[in-house]
Symmetry: C2
Subunit: 222 residues, 2 copies
DNA sequence: GGGCGTCGTTATCGATTGATAATAACGCTA
DNA sequence: TAGCGTTATTATCAATCGATAACGACGCCC
């Protein structure tokens, strides 16, 4: 045993049954913070003490990993906003619809604060045409966009929602609701405040309801 | 002449007196579209038919090129919004201030449409802490942030501006005003419309004035 | 018009990237 | 417990990155 003591050393092996999820969540954070090109597969692996080739084993490629991350995030968003979808609001009157939309808006703000990676990835990808952008828009963004459209149009014609083109409103809403969390590092440098603090999130949701649904009398903010 | 005809071929040389500006504007576009890491110095040079080492000759490094690009863009923004700065609005009454702010808001929307690279770069950088973000925030963003603060506070206490925390309002405003242009490629895929079209920009500016300055009676939209 | 300074062009450097082949540790089943 | 399938680990590949050295074309000045 002496002679072969330190050459061909024993390999340490670390098995984690949840390694796929661990790698996926690390990828979310890195893709959100640095963009697809800026995130390296080595840094994604390193931040969860894994090895870079594990990414190619558990996912097919960096691009497939990105796709899995985006699928996962939009799945979470869909769960969060299920009650605002057209099928759920079919029989409601306008007043009930307004209350549901206000609640959905507040929850969207909460989601953007809790999972900033989704809007970070969207804004990184949206700046340049690419196959990734085309896929993400057709697969996830467009259905979401179309799902909230009828409710908004109804509230607008009832004088509750602000009189704004839906396409413009959509970007005003997404931009206004997500930027503090997308750019949280900048917010901390600029204001000294933490946008993830419950007080910020609450005030932010209240503000968006007030300016986008001005016809909703005294918004109950539960 | 025959024997040495095609070996050691004559070098073509292209001199452009404005090469610095040409490279700088190419860098703006690439940094805005792909972020600092995603933009390669070769692609910046190639899109204006220049060579990659010219960037290191005319600028010190990729980082210095990025700095020069950001300086240039904030210079343009400062020119565009000079009349909204505190020194220019010192003696005005609240009604005049409201009109000036509404105009400034519309011009900010126009600027974001004309020079989307500024907000693209800001949103790319703001997603992760870095020396670049610290420098940009301290040098350019903070002065801008502080400059519009007193005017907003005055309008808010006069009941003209929406009753929102200034720090939150700032991000609501920037996000709502810039996202359609930051993510113009996505807008085209999602809506089929061009956010750079004058009709979109006009409607967008009107919408922001309406929701952020609700106390401004019938906004003259010249 | 000869010399020199500026700067465009080419070639190449070491570092890092995503991907993959080679090896080996572990768990399950027979 | 022997064998095998799964997958963690190591090593390495070609491609691309930013940077720089080497070379040469051009314009200006004396």
């Amino acid at each position: 045993m002496q002679g072969m003591a330190d050459r061909n050393p024993v390999r340490q092996r670390r098995a984690r049954p949840d390694i796929r999820e661990v790698l996926l969540e690390s990828a979310l954070v890195e893709f959100g913070a640095k963009g697809f090109d800026g995130a390296s597969t080595r840094s994604i692996a390193r931040r969860v003490e894994a090895h870079q080739p594990q990414l190619n084993y558990h996912f097919e490629s960096k691009a497939a990993l990105w796709t899995a991350a985006v699928d996962y995030l939009f799945g979470l968003l869909g769960e969060e906003l299920a009650d605002v979808l057209p099928t759920e609001i079919a029989g409601l009157d306008v007043s009930q619809l307004a209350t549901i939309f206000a609640g959905g808006l507040r929850r969207f703000v909460g989601f953007a604060a809790k999972h900033p990676e989704l809007n970070q990835i969207m804004v990184h990808e949206g700046t340049a045409a690419s196959d990734r952008l085309e896929w993400m828009t057709a697969t996830h963004v467009k259905p979401f966009f179309e799902a909230i459209k009828p409710g908004w149009l109804l509230l607008r014609s009832a004088g509750i929602a602000a009189p704004i083109d839906f396409e413009i409103l959509y970007y005003v809403l997404i931009g206004a609701a997500s930027l503090p969390y997308v750019n949280a590092p900048e917010v901390r440098l600029l204001t000294g405040r933490d946008p993830k603090h419950p007080d910020w999130i609450k005030a932010h949701g209240d503000a968006l309801v007030a300016i986008l649904l001005p016809g909703l009398a005294a918004a109950p903010s539960g």
